[in-house]
């Protein structure tokens, strides 16, 4: 994949950035630098996890998503609500109320992403029987997939070649709508109601092209909550609904639970996911059947673009799932069949870590980086604008920074100069 083709959702609003080191220190990919008093992102390493969006105290890190007006570019507009959306409303009595509210925003129809999740689960159960890759790694969280592309390319063959639920939802929604209303697919726009920038980025980097845009949950929260008291529309009542298992995908562990296998592992929080992938890479988890990683703590309900607190949302989803489970029974009445038209090509590595294309040159650069790193104090204070002393050394060797960017080095230099001045005046 060409680096330049990758779209990124995470952006910096320069005016708001004060050049502090908050995002710098927390970025799991070490891909933020503060230069000339402002943060900047090394996009070739960025996986759009949104950690910086969540933690920036000045709201300078933002996630670009599509404004709601975008939907009117299409004659027919379908909303694809992530199950996370249901967890945003504490007093909501049914999924149907949320779906009805979406129609009132101008959508012609809705298609639950949770319903697509049911189909992905079925397909994944089938894949687990046929593939030998262990553990099979979930392809649902685009930030985790991007992380593997950049840092764990050797694990790419383990990533399930199944479209993510939002893509499957887009595909099915368009096919169904086109058939029922007899309209060409090109006139239909499918918009994902997203909890995170990674999903926006994956939509616009276009792996499948079934989804046309992403609208942040927090952008439409207000509009939706004012519509929730409206009665449920007849159209929604007649729709096919997702099972409780599909809705359960909103919280971490939901996907694993839908596979009906005992030896699965779900890990949330990007730093924890990195740790788990290291273990898998070391061959320490080869007996594991399935691995589900969510970049956000708590799963998708913890996304940076949601409105409700992740723990509260988790509880709301849990209660909703319990209620649906009582109605549906433990196993959803009609488990959907697996589909082979939602399989996709394996993703390509994003080969961006290497220092140089020439290994001999890379080796001598590594020598210089080691050399330089030893001359720094090792405090990893971030004052230079690089996240650690070692990354500063790398930046210097790559030509992006100077030694005196280090405040301690600068102090040494000034002291040296001062001594020379004194020596001169004493002449």
């Amino acid at each position: 994949m060409d680096k330049k083709q990758i779209y990124h959702s995470v952006k910096l609003e320069k005016d708001k950035c004060v050049g502090c080191t908050t995002c710098l220190k927390r970025c799991p990919m070490e891909c933020i630098r503060v230069r000339n008093g402002k943060a900047s992102i090394l996009y070739e390493l960025c996986i759009d996890c949104g950690v910086c969006v969540r933690i920036c105290p000045h709201n300078a890190k933002v996630a670009q998503t599509d404004p709601i007006n975008e939907i009117f570019r299409y004659k027919h507009r379908i909303a694809l609500p992530a199950p996370t959306l249901y967890g945003q409303f504490r007093n909501v009595t049914s999924v149907d109320h949320v779906l009805s509210a979406l129609l009132s925003l101008g959508f012609s129809d809705v298609f639950e992403v949770a319903r697509a999740a049911d189909i992905v689960s079925a397909t994944m159960r089938e894949l687990l029987k046929t593939t030998t890759a262990r553990p099979l790694i979930s392809s649902a969280c685009p930030a985790v997939v991007a992380l593997i592309q950049v840092r764990f390319p050797e694990l790419l063959p383990n990533v399930a070649n199944v479209l993510s639920p939002k893509e499957v939802a887009g595909k099915m929604a368009k096919e169904e709508y086109s058939r029922e209303h007899n309209v060409p697919i090109e006139e239909i726009g499918a918009f994902f109601i997203t909890p995170c920038p990674a999903k926006m980025a994956s939509i616009h980097s276009g792996r499948s092209g079934y989804v046309d845009g992403a609208i942040a949950i927090q952008d439409i929260y207000g509009l939706l909550s004012s519509q929730l008291r409206q009665p449920v529309s007849e159209k929604i009542r007649k729709k096919r609904h997702a099972s409780w298992q599909g809705v359960n995908w909103a919280t971490y562990g939901g996907e694993c639970a839908s596979l009906h296998r005992s030896n699965t592992l779900s890990v949330d929080g990007i730093h924890n996911v990195i740790y788990a992938l290291e273990e898998i890479e070391n061959g320490k988890l080869d007996d594991l059947e399935f691995f589900e990683g969510s970049a956000c703590e708590g799963g998708c309900v913890g996304g940076p673009l949601v409105f409700e607190n992740a723990f509260v949302a988790q509880n709301t989803v849990r209660k909703l799932v319990e209620r649906m489970r009582e109605e549906d029974g433990d196993l959803p009445p009609a488990l959907p069949a697996p589909r082979d038209d939602i399989l996709t090509d394996p993703c390509a590595p994003r080969d961006t870590l290497k220092l140089s294309d020439n290994i001999a040159e890379a080796i001598s650069m590594m020598e210089r980086i080691d050399e330089l790193t030893k001359t720094f104090k090792g405090l990893d204070c971030g004052s230079c604008g690089s996240p650690t002393c070692r990354t500063l050394a790398e930046d210097i060797v790559l030509g992006y920074a100077k030694e005196v960017d280090c405040v301690f080095k600068l102090k040494e230099k000034v002291e040296q100069l001062a001594r020379q001045m004194v020596d001169l005046t004493n002449l």
């Binding site: 840092r151 390319p153 050797e154 290291e278 890479e281 070391n282 061959g283 320490k284 590595p349 870590l353 290497k354 220092l355 140089s356 294309d357 290994i359 001999a360 890379a362 080796i363 001598s364 590594m366 020598e367 080691d370």
Partner: protein, 147 residues
């Protein structure tokens, strides 16, 4: 960490203390990051990561402590694992899968399955082991880099 200067080779040596399970895995993790930065093929990185992880654990479990030295050349990598004893009585037996002299306590930690040395051999392109009782063991593993 020590290093020797040589043209277009990168070398680092790190010590592993006896019984230091808490630090186990750190060296292989740092090797992985370093090799990815050097642009080494990811398949080789993974093989070396597994071999070095096993070596690191072995040093902590079975020896009085030792060191690991990695040298990266443009076309191959050499990993030398050296310890200060006790030495292996029967190398042939130690190389058998499932054979282990690890204590019950070590097994409780999830180690000592008798796969360490066979795994190292499986993951490397060349593998040499020499050992002398009371002196120590040296393992030299080679990994070829395809351009």
């Amino acid at each position: 960490m020590e290093r020797i200067e040589k043209e277009t080779t990168y070398q680092e040596t790190r010590k592993v203390e006896k019984g230091d399970f808490a630090a186990a895995g750190q060296i292989s993790a740092s090797y992985k990051n370093m090799l990815k930065r050097l642009g080494v093929d990811s398949k080789v990185v993974r093989r070396l990561a597994i071999a070095s992880y096993e070596a690191e654990i072995n040093l902590a479990i079975h020896t009085f402590g030792g060191s690991m030295t990695i040298t990266v050349y443009p076309d191959h990598i050499v990993l030398v694992v050296k310890d200060t004893g006790p030495g292996i009585a029967d190398i042939g037996l130690a190389m058998q899968e499932g054979y282990s002299t690890a204590s019950e306590q070590v097994r409780m930690l999830g180690f000592g399955a008798g796969m360490g040395l066979p795994n190292m051999k499986r993951c490397s392109d060349t593998f040499e082991i020499t050992s002398e009782l009371g002196i120590g063991t040296t393992i030299e593993m080679g990994f070829l880099l395809t351009p």
